[in-house]
């Protein structure tokens, strides 16, 4: 979140399906309610969404089915034409881009992973991974070389010449991930990438995803209907309901101060200690710092074991290892007791 200009900015995105479309936006000062739209025989799949995604962050859009999250992510890549709004990618308005320019942007700067993998059944693993490069007209030797690297990156080396239907779901999605990374995109969309997988595999793939991101540092828009997944992966989360964003913020923000009962419903079962960061519990330094220290970006739950040998206070350090505050045992216990 260091860079000044956000990578992707959405301002007032609307997507209305059905009759009227744009016409419905004008009379109500541009903000008809869901009921207004229904009365007019239309569906407001995405309503007045404003988000900013910064370079290198994982931005998770979380919502239940029918909340419009898949429509929104397709609006961001203009797979679906938004009814109204602006989408700025590196400052360039995508909605004003010509079709040729859009093809250009998608070919070189965007990658997408799909819920049901969307692998081409007639191509082998390497054929699938190399497919985006083939479409760009890159010669066979170069594209296969790059594809091989991607396949290795996602841990599927040795499976290059296997067909998708011979792979398990988790492996298929690894192919999907490798393919979306083959063009080395700046912006990486993942549309419920792990929803179709078994819980155990899902967990494994989430770890894999975090590992990849720690290496690649992409700008990511990640869609999910699973709040735990959102908490695990996100730098920031936007919660969607009925086409609107109800609340957007860090996982900690959402858990500590849910904006609506709807958000609270999700956060209630989340263990606070796993979400709340040490930084938000620490008090100012007074005198010498204790020997045992913890990073201010760690979750409270990670701090707990460090009190095991009887310490009452820990030193809190920032990214460079400088002591910036103190963490009291009582504060940690308090958070953990609240569940």
């Amino acid at each position: 979140m260091a860079s000044d200009q956000p990578k992707l900015v959405c301002r007032g995105i609307w997507k209305i399906f059905g009759a009227g479309g744009k016409g419905l936006l004008a009379p109500d000062g541009g903000r008809p309610s869901g009921a207004d739209l229904r009365a007019a025989g239309a569906v407001g799949a995405v309503r007045d969404v404003n988000i900013e995604v910064h370079a290198g962050e994982i931005f998770v859009i979380m919502g239940l089915s029918g909340s419009g999250k898949s429509t929104l992510v397709r609006c961001l890549s203009r797979l679906i034409e938004p009814t109204a709004g602006d989408i700025l990618f590196n400052g360039e308005n995508l909605l004003a881009a010509s079709e040729a320019r859009m093809i250009e942007i998608r070919r070189h700067s965007m990658g997408m992973v799909f819920q049901h993998f969307a692998l081409l059944p007639h191509l082998t693993v390497i054929g699938n991974v190399a497919f985006p490069l083939e479409i760009q007209g890159i010669d066979r030797a170069r594209r296969e070389e790059r594809a091989r690297r991607m396949i290795e990156l996602v841990g599927l080396a040795g499976k290059e010449h296997v067909f998708p239907r011979e792979l398990s779901g988790g492996q298929q999605q690894r192919v999907g991930i490798a393919r979306s990374l083959a063009v080395e995109p700046e912006l990486w969309f993942l549309d419920e990438p792990f929803s179709a997988l078994d819980p155990l595999i899902r967990r494994e793939m989430q770890d894999e995803f975090l590992r990849l991101q720690s290496v690649l540092k992409k700008t990511i828009v990640f869609i999910t209907h699973d709040f735990d997944e959102a908490i695990r992966l996100a730098d920031r989360i936007a919660i969607m309901k009925d086409g609107e964003i109800v609340q957007a913020g860090t996982p900690e923000d959402l858990v500590l101060s849910p904006a609506t009962p709807y958000v609270a419903e999700f956060t209630r079962s989340v263990a606070r200690a796993k979400v709340v960061k040490v930084a938000s519990l620490m008090r100012g330094l007074d005198g010498a710092a204790p020997k045992i220290s913890i990073s201010d970006r760690a979750a409270v739950a990670e701090a707990a074991p460090l009190f095991a040998n009887g310490a009452d206070t820990l030193a809190v350090t920032d990214g460079e290892g400088r002591a910036v505050g103190l963490l009291d045992r009582a504060a940690v216990v308090d958070v953990m007791m609240r569940g």
Binding site: E104, P121, H122, P132
Partner: protein, 676 residues
């Protein structure tokens, strides 16, 4: 997105008292309408004769219009740069060139000179060569077992002396199928891309599939003349619609995520079509290819009426001579070809769906194309062998087998010993059922029938269906086809009733008996792949020409869907519901009548619908055994090359089919809505 079907909501919540009123009105509507109809029919004839027999003065001279339009197309129509005749000549040339090439390869050899003075420069592929190549293709597609099967099929052709004709037929199939597939694919693609084009195309496809084939033989004959080219054009018209339909369906069923993927990687439109959509839809598209092959084979006999030659001509000639043995053998030869080509195309479809084995990494020609090299070797070896030993080129007549005499003897024996019994059955049914029914239907007032049909349409599907049904029925009357149409309806109706009476109980029996069903399936499949003409022959020999014969042939052909859909419907009933019934203490009979048959009713009705369609298509063919219905009208028009007359009668058959189809589908839909 729950509101995406807003129009469904008002229907489901009518005001209670209004619903009550409507139910009362509905209960009285039918009896009242029927009563009015019967009274009108019994007493109105002296007053309003026009309502009973359509006055010929009111007839639209539609046949003459079509005739004139045809003439205009032929003589004057022009698209600016070229005339319509140029267009048909161009199409003919496009078909003729590859046809001639394939024909000379398979049958005639390379000829120089014209007509009977032609001299053979090079012999065609010998039977040994074709057999070996077919075996190689079989092995390539599906291994040893398939190779054995297709070799056996082609061996049958050799052994029973059908080779020469079979190769002529094969040549026309080999040309027709790729053209049909490509044109169907292009049409389907265009329809997929441009919805307006689809809206225009689908009704045309509907019509192409419901018009009896005979009807468009006439215009084809007029525009393309008599000969194999015209026959291939007719085959294409018949075999193309399913390919177009399958293409539309297959493309539409490609998951939207795959399309999104194509866009995300930045495909251009062409890349999207050829790199993403078509490869993803390949499995379903192969089903379409298989359909084209099978339908082309279905057309073999009918196409021989406008000059296809080959096996179809043999069957037709045998039918005219009433030579059952020869007809049966030529018919079975068509079946053998059909089985071989069907299995080959299915094997390739499966292969396309499965991951291919890695290509051998050898670099030599033999290593890279083993099958091609082997085929070439076979051709050369057999060519040389043919020069040395004539038997290797042409299978010697002395080695051929024929069962023709045997079959003729069987029929003769039955006729000698059972003539009286057969005649008694025939006369009893004819006098007690067919003739009275024919009179009854013929006596009904056309005006009343049109109104009753429209009413049925209104009750089942609302105003739109009523209009469609009414207008189509009226058109039959207006074009002066009413009388013949009633004969068609009566023959079709009787046959369908018999087919249902035989088929549905058989289906019920077979649904719960796995072994019986397997046998029955074999019988049904044979009945359906056997060219329809083939079982006309024994029936004609036993019962002579006439309505009864036609009926038997139609029932034999149309019973298959009645059985099939009944079994499918019953087997598809949710086992949990049956379990619940058993838990409540239902007897087997109760489970069958109160649960299974009720739930399977929509499927059974669809089966009935299919039975009607099958019956109509066979009915047209039975014109050859002397019925007096619309089929005969089409057939006569064909022999006179009268486009107008043929098309009008053909369209009338299509209208009957559409009316029956729409009414029954609407009924089935209503039942299904009530059931689920």
């Amino acid at each position: 997105m729950g509101a995406s079907f807003p129009f469904l909501q008002p229907v489901s919540t009518p005001l209670p008292e209004r619903a009550g009123q409507r139910a009362v009105r509905a209960r009285w509507l039918w009896p009242a309408a029927l009563l009015a109809f019967v009274l009108f029919w019994q007493f109105a004839k002296p007053v309003a004769k026009w309502a009973f027999v359509y006055p010929s003065a009111w007839e639209l001279p539609a046949a003459r219009w079509i005739g004139r339009a045809t003439k205009w197309l032929q003589d004057e129509a022009t698209f600016g740069l070229f005339t319509f005749t140029d267009l048909t000549r161009f199409v003919a040339a496009v078909i003729d060139l590859p046809y001639r090439a394939v024909l000379s390869l398979l049958s005639t050899g390379l000829l120089s000179g014209q007509g009977s003075s032609a001299v053979q420069q090079l012999p065609p592929l010998s039977w040994l060569a074709v057999l070996a190549i077919v075996a190689l293709i079989g092995h390539h597609a599906g291994g040893l077992r398939l190779a054995a099967l297709v070799t056996a099929c082609f061996g049958f052709l050799v052994l029973f002396g059908q080779w020469t004709s079979a190769m002529v037929t094969l040549a026309s199939i080999v040309v027709a199928v790729p053209i049909g597939v490509v044109v169907g694919l292009v049409l389907g693609l265009a329809a997929f891309r441009w919805p307006p084009f689809e809206r225009a195309l689908v009704p045309v496809l509907d019509l192409m599939q419901t018009i009896p084939v005979f009807a468009y033989l006439v215009p084809v004959l007029v525009f393309f003349g008599f000969g194999p080219t015209a026959a291939i054009v007719a085959t294409l018209i018949y075999a193309l619609p399913p390919m177009a339909r399958v293409t539309i369906l297959a493309l539409r069923s490609v998951p939207s995520e795959i399309r999104d993927l194509g866009n995300m990687v930045g495909c251009s439109r062409r890349q999207m079509t050829w790199r993403v959509m078509i490869p993803s839809a390949k499995d379903s598209l192969m089903v379409g290819v298989n359909q084209v092959i099978m339908l082309s084979l279905n057309m073999v006999i009918i196409a021989s009426m406008i000059g296809a030659g080959g096996l179809g001509f043999d069957v037709l000639a045998a039918l005219r001579r009433l030579d059952i043995g020869a007809g049966l053998e030529a018919g079975l030869a068509i079946v053998a070809l059909a089985v071989a080509l069907d299995r080959l195309s299915q094997a390739y479809a499966e292969k396309a769906g499965q991951p291919a084995a890695l290509a051998p990494s050898g670099t030599g020609l033999v290593a890279r194309h083993p099958y091609l090299v082997a085929a070439l070797a076979v051709v050369i070896v057999t060519f040389l062998a043919g020069l040395a030993v004539p038997a290797a080129q042409v299978f010697p007549e002395g080695w051929q087998v024929s069962t023709g005499a045997f079959w003729s003897e069987v029929v003769r024996w039955i006729n000698v010993n059972f003539f009286d019994a057969l005649e008694a059955i025939r006369n009893a049914i004819l006098l007690n059922l067919l003739v009275p029914l024919k009179r009854l239907l013929g006596g009904l007032p056309w005006s009343g029938v049109v109104l009753m049909l429209a009413l049925a349409g209104y009750r089942l599907g609302g105003l739109r269906l009523a209009t469609l049904v009414g207008v189509l029925a009226l058109l039959i009357a207006v074009t002066g086809q009413w009388e013949k149409a009633t004969i068609t309806v009566y023959l079709c109706g009787v046959s369908v009733v018999f087919a249902a009476l035989i088929g549905i109980p058989l289906g019920i029996l077979a649904a719960e008996r796995e072994r019986l069903w397997r046998w029955l399936q074999l019988v049904i499949d044979t009945l359906q792949t056997l060219p329809s003409f083939v079982y006309l022959m024994p029936v004609v020999m036993l019962f002579r020409v006439g309505d009864f014969t036609a009926m038997i042939a139609v029932v034999a052909y149309a019973v298959a869907p009645a059985i099939r859909y009944t079994v499918l419907g019953l087997q598809r009933v949710d086992p949990r519901v049956v379990e619940a019934g058993r838990a409540m203490g239902c007897t087997r009979l109760q489970i069958l009548t109160k649960i299974k048959l009720k739930l399977a009713l929509p499927e059974i009705m669809l089966g009935l619908n299919q039975t009607i369609m099958f019956a109509l298509s066979m009915l047209v063919i039975t014109a050859l055994v002397g019925t007096r219905d619309l089929g005969q009208e089409v057939y006569i028009a064909l022999t006179k090359a009268d486009t107008g007359r043929g098309l009008i009668a053909g369209l009338s058959v299509a209208f009957i089919a559409i009316i029956a189809d729409r009414l029954i589908s609407a009924g089935a839909r209503r039942i299904r809505e009530r059931v689920s």
